[in-house]
Assembly symmetry: C2
Homo-oligomer: 280 residues x 2
């Protein structure tokens, strides 16, 4: 069984907030993740929610800023988050850009060198980390949901679409809905996946739905003052694909809210209720 | 009227989270503070809660980590926090120690050179910042409370004790209860206030109560896994002084909780209710 190094542990809403590091077989380097165990975890196997964070974030960001533990403690949900990429791979230029490389793994397995050796976040989350959570925490493997923010919203949507047997509920805050159409996604996909756009479609939520994939009822919240909305996020493209495919989608736009965790924290209770209703 | 530079603004729980900078007359340098205005602020003057943060923190820490906006929006309380010291004064050694100098103003007016020129956090908060909040925000000047964490808990207690006309409610998370008795306090007081311990008593919550000062009903939460409890915080000293002085104190110890914002966030709703009950 994977040996976990506990980096820190904190009491939080009658549960435990923990940070771990381990040697990842999938990535080939140390990886870090965080777990919030609500009080219900002391006595039973409980549902789990994976949260995938956005560009530049780490395994800490969600746990510090989102204010989710309060609701997780109320609803009996375990929360899991993880770093947003491998770190210190030694690949030249890895830390040159804030929107590509370190902190920007885009939750896929790169197929192109030099990235393909280490940048394997999709396999890391869906196989290795998922198995660690099932083996070493009181998690119910049949009740796992996934959600995320921005790049992590893209990750939640695409992993839910690609692994419908693994994730029973899904939602997102301000996700990159159509990465093939936006600068962030095009830059990442070109480097990680190469030039063939047919491969890109496997990692684009809008394209996956156009191509016939389906997920459980989807909840998305989007701020209208989001500085990245017009250029990077394309919720309208996803909405159109869902409508044409009869994929159920609740897409809510909120005036006065931006791309920050102040926005995320505001609507966190709705998202945790959404997952609770699907998982409990 | 003081000109405020708005550094950022974010929608949050149907209210507004804002960060400001201004040229401080009291400090003689730019100072930063943060305000959360709940939705009730759109239509009326509302009560205000000042939060004083701990060592190494800034005006952002509480607003990012404490999860207080949710309750402030529910109860109709404005939240105000501020940086924990002047910055970039040019004083030699100012940033050498994490527990003294920059990030460690201890919420008093230094009397000793070189600190006395700039380190005037007590006057800054009780006069200049308080006036800014009253003049430029929909604040009710007769309903202002104060709370804080660690060094900021010390600040909340001592400012409430020294200015009973300004603060109508007070509480603290893991405060430094008797700074004259602990290494953090002794180091700060020696440098800021000089060697005469009679002057120190004016800035030590336990001594102020011993010397006859009183405050409204006081709520303190303290984690029993707090790594600073034994050496730095001395809640028992404060409890003894309160008991002997018949100062009303609710002091709660919590097993499994440490000194972090995971602890603070867990008991935030109780503190905001405590202030709401006193201020509404």
């Amino acid at each position: 069984m994977t040996v976990l190094e506990t980096r820190s542990q904190h009491g939080c809403f009658d549960g435990i907030q923990s940070y771990y590091q381990h040697s990842s077989e999938t990535i080939g380097l140390p990886m870090r993740f965080s777990v919030y165990q609500p009080p219900q975890a002391r006595s039973q196997r409980i549902p789990v929610l994976f949260f995938l964070a956005g560009l530049t974030c780490t395994e800490e960001t969600f746990m510090i800023k989102a204010g989710a533990q309060r609701y997780a403690a109320e609803y009996g949900l375990m929360l899991v988050s993880m770093d947003t990429s491998p770190r210190q791979t030694g690949i030249a230029g890895e830390t040159d850009d804030w929107d590509f490389g370190a902190g920007a793994g885009f939750y896929l397995d790169a197929t192109e060198q030099p990235w393909s050796t280490y940048y394997r976040m999709e396999s890391y989350i869906t196989q290795e980390l998922r198995q660690i959570i099932i083996d070493q925490f009181p998690a119910d493997p049949n009740r796992i949901g996934i959600f995320g923010h921005s790049m992590g919203g893209h990750g939640a949507l695409t992993l839910a679409l690609r692994y419908p047997d693994l994730f029973r509920s899904v939602s997102a805050f301000a996700p990159i809905c159509a990465p093939m159409q936006c600068p962030w996604g095009q830059k990442a996909f070109r480097h990680y996946l190469g030039e063939d756009q047919q491969n890109w479609r496997q990692h684009d939520a809008t394209a996956l739905i156009e191509d016939g994939r389906r997920i459980p009822d989807l909840l998305i919240d989007q701020g209208l003052d989001d500085q990245f909305l017009a250029q990077q996020l394309y919720p309208e493209a996803l909405e159109k694909a869902c409508r044409e495919a009869e994929q159920k989608l609740t897409l809510r736009f909120h005036s006065g809210y931006d791309h920050s965790y102040y926005f995320i924290s505001t609507f966190m209770s709705d998202h945790l209720k959404h997952h609770r209703d699907a998982l409990l």
